[in-house]
């Protein structure tokens, strides 16, 4: 938990300013300027991200199931369903949502050595 919290702080520190830079410049001015919002950036901020677990020939099926339970709070049945999807199709989207939280899940799952990536949800 401590590492996750540290990561959250790091994430906010490093991604926060760059992502809201347009709005920050408005707040630092007179307050009468028209906000220079970049529509594409706004969409990017709002669009969901997928946490994807990929197949790996070494990780045990029981291990993958247990890690999904531990990190994502899945029931055993739900974790096994995702594990089998990984095993049979090569990948499974285990979570979709805000990027910051998706990054935390990727870090946690990689922390357990599951081959995990982040991708924008289509």
């Amino acid at each position: 938990m401590r590492r996750v919290q540290n990561h959250t702080e790091n994430q906010l520190e490093r991604t926060g300013p760059s992502r809201v830079q347009g709005r920050r410049s408005v707040f630092s001015g007179t307050g009468l300027e028209t906000p220079d919002l970049d529509v594409a950036d706004e969409v990017a901020l709002d669009s969901p991200w997928n946490v994807v677990v990929h197949n790996d020939p070494v990780n045990l099926m029981s291990y993958v199931t247990r890690v999904l339970q531990k990190v994502l709070g899945f029931t055993r049945e739900r974790a096994e369903k995702h594990m089998m999807e990984v095993h049979k199709t090569g990948r499974s989207i285990v979570w979709t949502g805000a990027r910051e939280k998706a990054e935390l899940y990727v870090q946690q799952l990689q922390g357990f050595l599951l081959l995990t990536t982040l991708e924008r949800s289509s």
């Binding site: 990561h7 790091n10 990780n59 029981s62 050595l113 995990t116 982040l118």
Partner: protein, 165 residues
């Protein structure tokens, strides 16, 4: 003389692995070193989160997240090494190793590190690990080591799963 390797609960805080001969005791002692990231295994142990699609995100990951993962992985190996220091030779019954309940996930994790690193270094995939195909001696030894570690991992996980259900 053949011995039967077993994992049993010694008390609520301790699991004991027993019946190990010198060969298997040595395989256990190799866990921390086998799992230590090297040039050949680091891409698997610390994979890119976007698979190169987002270079900036991958660079951030290397700078901020990877050091935390390295520390976490190192901690697992250190705890395992400390437990292994206390492995005892009981004579006729072979070597015995206590695994503190508090370190169980460290062991599961450390075994996984070692298995992944060995497989990567020796180029062992599903086919090599599951099929009886001829391998060079070093790769065959690594495959055996991976399977032995898998057995231990499975034992530790099984008891864990029973606790969780």
């Amino acid at each position: 003389m053949s011995r039967r390797i077993s994992l049993r609960r010694k008390d609520p805080q301790t699991l004991t692995l027993s019946g190990l001969d010198a060969f298997f005791a040595d395989l256990l002692r190799e866990i921390p070193m086998a799992g230590t990231p090297g040039a050949l295994s680091e891409d698997r142990l610390f994979p890119s989160p976007t698979e190169g699609r987002d270079r900036e995100a991958d660079a951030d990951w290397r700078e901020y997240v990877r050091p935390e993962l390295e520390e976490q992985f190192s901690e697992s190996r250190s705890r395992i090494a400390a437990d292994l220091e206390l492995m005892r030779d009981t004579g006729r019954k072979g070597f015995e190793l206590d695994i503190p309940e508090a370190n169980r996930w460290e062991w599961i994790h450390g075994l996984n590190q070692a298995r992944l690193a060995l497989a990567t270094v020796h180029g062992l995939g599903e086919e090599e690990l599951e099929e009886l195909i001829p391998l060079q001696p070093a790769a065959a030894m690594a495959a055996f080591q991976i399977q032995f570690y898998a057995l231990l991992q499975e034992w530790l996980l099984t008891e864990f799963q029973e606790d969780a259900d």
